[in-house]
Amino acid sequence: MLQTLLGITHDELDLTTLVRLVTGGDRQLPGRHGAIVTFLGTVRGENRGRRVVKLEYQAYEPLAVRAFELIAAEVADAWPDARLALHHRIGTLGPGEVSVAIVAASPHRAEGFRACRYAIERVKQIAPIWKREVFEDGETWIEGSTADPSDSAARQAAYERACR
């Protein structure tokens, strides 16, 4: 089980661990965070009308962790009181399994919800992670965004989605 705030793992993701990691620094002031917002991304059993048998995730792990660090820094920049934990699973996942877990802790709920939403939007934009959908009768790599962390329009779009 990952014991870092940010990471990639082949293991099953555990939300309780993320919550403990993100609030672990609260010992001096228990309850500093009045809100803990969580997000779990799970494998859909159906996509565009086809039944999904499994997803196969690959990551360029050192750069993915670097991307998560960039995202955490962007979150700290936009919502200075929010603290983020982000784990992404790779390997083969079946329908219903959790592929990504994000926890944002903050003094008040508004910035927690925003930080959490922003983080998943940025993961989808820049993290070097790929998934292949395997159907009963074929398979295909999903290709989304060109991963460019310096694309300020993409960053702004993620921010607007987080704040609307």
Binding site: Y60, P128, E143, T146, A147, P149
Partner: protein, 81 residues
């Protein structure tokens, strides 16, 4: 000089391997490494417009000059989450 090229997702499938080593002239850029790769595997060529790159686990521009033993990674459009 020798560089390592690592591939993921569709690019890995096209090459049939996750990793290649290639000799490039001194002063070669990320773009030149891509040209070598796309020359060997023409099915990769259409990806150039949607690709990004990394060198030694940091995001990099295609104009970046490479050094001996660098690890270059070409990133097809990502789909995490």
């Amino acid at each position: 000089m020798q560089i390592t090229i690592r591939l993921f997702a569709r690019l890995r499938d096209i090459a049939g391997t996750p990793e290649l080593e290639r000799d490039l002239p001194e002063g070669a850029t990320v773009e030149m490494a891509w040209q070598v790769l796309a020359g060997e595997f023409p099915a990769m060529a259409p990806y150039r417009g949607s690709l990004s790159a990394a060198v030694n686990a940091e995001y990099a521009r295609f104009t970046r000059t490479l050094s001996d033993q660098d690890e270059v990674v070409f990133l097809p459009p990502v789909s995490g989450g």
